[in-house]
Symmetry: C2
Subunit: 371 residues, 2 copies
C-alpha cells in the first residue's frame, strides 16, 4: 500500500471503515489515539499501549519543544526511537497549547509569541517554525499551525480563520519531509456553517493527505458539535481521513463515527483514570466510591483487559485510596482497553453493516446510568 493512502474498506450510512498507511504501519480506522503528551502515554510503557490495542499515539509539539527540546529528540533519532514506540505517531501543531497553556501570548499575522508554562521564558511559533519542529520530532502525521478560538464567538472566528488559512498555506509550502510525514490541515470556523465550509474549501484546495476538524469539544454543546460535523464531514474528500481533535467520550465517538469521522484523540481516558474513574458498558464509575472496597469481582464483568483479568475492583480501590501508582496504571490500562475495544467493535459493525444498531444498543446501556 502506498504511504499516506486512505483506503475505504466499507461504509455503513456515513460511517466509514478504512485503513490509513504510514511509514510506521497501518492505522485501522475509525481509530482512537491515546495521548502521550511528553513522549509517554501517562503511566504506561509502549508495550502496554500496544497491548490495549492502539495503532497510533499522539504527542504534543508544544511540550516536547520546551522539554526535552526538538533538537535533542532529533539527535536521538526522532520521537519513535526516543520513546521506544515503533508504530505511527501524530504530533499536533502546538497551536492549541500555545493558546490554552502558556501564561502570555501575542498573536500577529506572522505567528504567536508566548511564555513557557515551565520557566517563563519567551518563545515564538510561526508556521515555518512549527514545521521545522515537527520535522525534527519525526512523527508520521503532522498538523498545520492553527488558531483555536472560542467556537461561539463569530467575530473572533472570522479573524482567526484568516490567520489559520494563511498559516496552513505557509505550512504546506514550508513542510520539510513530505515523503515521510503527512501534513493534515485543520478545519476551523467554530459553530458557524458558512465559516466551516469556507475553511473546508480553502484547505481541500491545498490537496493535503488528511483533514482535521478543530475547535470543537471546547465549550459548545454536544448538539452544536454534532451539527457542525453534519456540515463539515460531507464536504471533505472521501479519499482522505477525517480527524476530530480532542474528542474521546464514548458517546461522542459513536455520534462522530456515524457522521463520517475516522480518527480521534483525547486525554479523557487516561486523565480520568488517574482520578479513579473508569469506563464501563454502563457508564463511568468512580472506583474511589466506598462501595468498591469489598468488591471481589473485576472492575467490569466480562472485561478482557489486564487489570480485570488479574485484579479485583476492591484491590484497585485500595490502591487508588492509598495513592499507589499501580492503581493509576491499572485504571489507565482498563480505560484505554475499553476505548480501543469500542473502536474495534465499531470497525466490525461498520463492516457487518449494523453499525447504527450497535451504536443505539451501546448508548442505551452507556447513558442510562453513571456513578
Amino acid at each position: 500500500m502506498p504511504i499516506f493512502q486512505y483506503t475505504l474498506l466499507a461504509t455503513d450510512g456515513h460511517a466509514r471503515r478504512g485503513v490509513f498507511s504510514t511509514p510506521h504501519g497501518d492505522i485501522q480506522m475509525p481509530a482512537f489515539a491515546p495521548v502521550g503528551t511528553q513522549a509517554t502515554v501517562k503511566t504506561l510503557t509502549p508495550d502496554e499501549v500496544r497491548m490495549v490495542g492502539a495503532d497510533l499515539i499522539l504527542a504534543n509539539t508544544y511540550h516536547l519543544y520546551l522539554r526535552p527540546g526538538a533538537e535533542r529528540i532529533a539527535r536521538f533519532g526522532g520521537l519513535h526511537r526516543f520513546m521506544g514506540w515503533d508504530g505511527p505517531i501524530l504530533t499536533d501543531s502546538g497551536g492549541f497549547q500555545v493558546f490554552s497553556l502558556s501564561d502570555l501570548r501575542q498573536v500577529d499575522a506572522d505567528g504567536v509569541t508566548f511564555k513557557s508554562h515551565l520557566d517563563g521564558s519567551y518563545h515564538r511559533f510561526t508556521p515555518e517554525k512549527v514545521m521545522a519542529i515537527q520535522a525534527q520530532l519525526g512523527a508520521d502525521i503532522i498538523m498545520a499551525f492553527d488558531e483555536c478560538p472560542d467556537p461561539l464567538d463569530r467575530a473572533y472566528n472570522e479573524e482567526a480563520l484568516a490567520r489559520t488559512h494563511a498559516w496552513a498555506l505557509r505550512c504546506a509550502e514550508s513542510q520539510q519531509r513530505p515523503e515521510d510525514q503527512a501534513l493534515f490541515g485543520i478545519v476551523q470556523g467554530g459553530i458557524f456553517p458558512d465559516l466551516r465550509l469556507e475553511s473546508v474549501a480553502f484547505l481541500t484546495n491545498l490537496d493535503l493527505p488528511g483533514y482535521a476538524i478543530g475547535g470543537l469539544a471546547v465549550g459548545e454543546t454536544k448538539a452544536q458539535m454534532y451539527a457542525t460535523l453534519d456540515i463539515v464531514t460531507p464536504a471533505l474528500p472521501a479519499d482522505r481521513p477525517r480527524y476530530l481533535m480532542g474528542v474521546g467520550a464514548p458517546d461522542d465517538i459513536l455520534e462522530a463515527v456515524a457522521r463520517g469521522v475516522d480518527l480521534f484523540d483525547c486525554v479523557l481516558p487516561t486523565r480520568i483514570a488517574r482520578n479513579g474513574a473508569i469506563f464501563t458498558r454502563h457508564g463511568r464509575k468512580n472506583l474511589r466510591n466506598a462501595r468498591f472496597a469489598d468488591e471481589q469481582g473485576p472492575l467490569e464483568e466480562g472485561c478482557t483487559c489486564y487489570t480485570c483479568q488479574r485484579f479485583s475492583a476492591g484491590y484497585v480501590h485500595h490502591l487508588i485510596k492509598a495513592k499507589e501508582i499501580l492503581g493509576l496504571r491499572l485504571t489507565t490500562l482498563h480505560n484505554l482497553h475499553f476505548l480501543e475495544t469500542l473502536m474495534r467493535e465499531i470497525r466490525e459493525h461498520i463492516e457487518a453493516g449494523d453499525f447504527l444498531a450497535f451504536k443505539e444498543a451501546f448508548l442505551s446501556d452507556y447513558l442510562q446510568q453513571s456513578s
Copy 2:
C-alpha cells in the same frame, strides 16, 4: 521438601547458600525481599516483581491493618489473592512502624497504644493482636511483635529487651496458624554484645523456624552494625534462616552475607528510584543530573533489565525531569533487577567457593565512585 525447612546447600567462610521452603514456594537464599508496604511493591505489578527475580515480598502489617484492614484482606482470601502475588510473602509485626510512624504512642508491659498516621484514630497492638492480624493477612512468614529502640541507648535497650522477649513468648503461644505460617523471632539488644547474646539465647529457646536481627541500620555506624553481626550470627542455629531487617545497600548486603546472613528487605532500591537514583556497578548515580540528558546508551552498559534493554538513559532522564510515572517505574525496575541480580551472583559465588573474591571485586568497583 517439608514446609519451613531451611536446607543448607553450600557454605563459603561464614556465607551460606540455602533454600527456605514455604507454602507458596521456595526462597533461594541469600535473598532480598522487595518491600510492598501497602500490598504493592511501589509502581510495579506482581508480574514485574517476578520478572526482576524476586522470590519473596515483604508487606507491612501496620499499614495494611489501618488500610484496607486485615479483616477485609481476609475476606478477599488473604494477602496473596488480594494483591495477586502467588509467591512467598513476609509480613512484619508492625512494631517498627508503631514506634516510627504513629503520631503518639504509649508503651506498657502488655502492648502499645498508638494514633493512626492516616486519621488520628487510636489503636492498640498487643502480641496476641498482632498474631491475629498476621493470621488474617496470611503471609508465609510472620514476625514477632517487638520494640525497636535506639541501638546506642543501653538503658532503653535493657528495658525494651525485657518487653520484646515477653512479647515473643506470647506471640509463640498465641500464634494461630503454625501449620502454614512460620513465626520468626527478632533479636534485639542494640550494639551491646551481652544484650544481643541474651536475646539470641532467649529466642532460640523458643525453637522458632527463623530468626531476624532487628534494631540495626537505624543510627549506628556501619562498623557497629558489622560488629553486631559478628556477635549474633555465630550464635544463631545453623539450620534456621537469619534475616537482617531493613538493610538493602549493596555493600551492607555483601558484608552481612559474609557474616552469615540469609535474608534482607529494604525500601532503599524502590525509594531512591522514585527520586531518580539508580544502582550501577560503579556506585549510585542520579539520573536527574543534566549529563544524562543526551545519553543515548542505557542506564548501565551491559545491564539486562527491561529498562536498559528498551530505553536510553536520556529518555528516562526526560521522564524523571518531566515527573512522568513511567520514569519511576523504569528506575524501580532497574534497581530491583540490580539487587536481585546481585543476590543471584552472591548465591553462585558461594556455591563456587569464591564469594570473598567476588565481594572484594564488587566493592572495589561499587565504592570507588558515586555521583
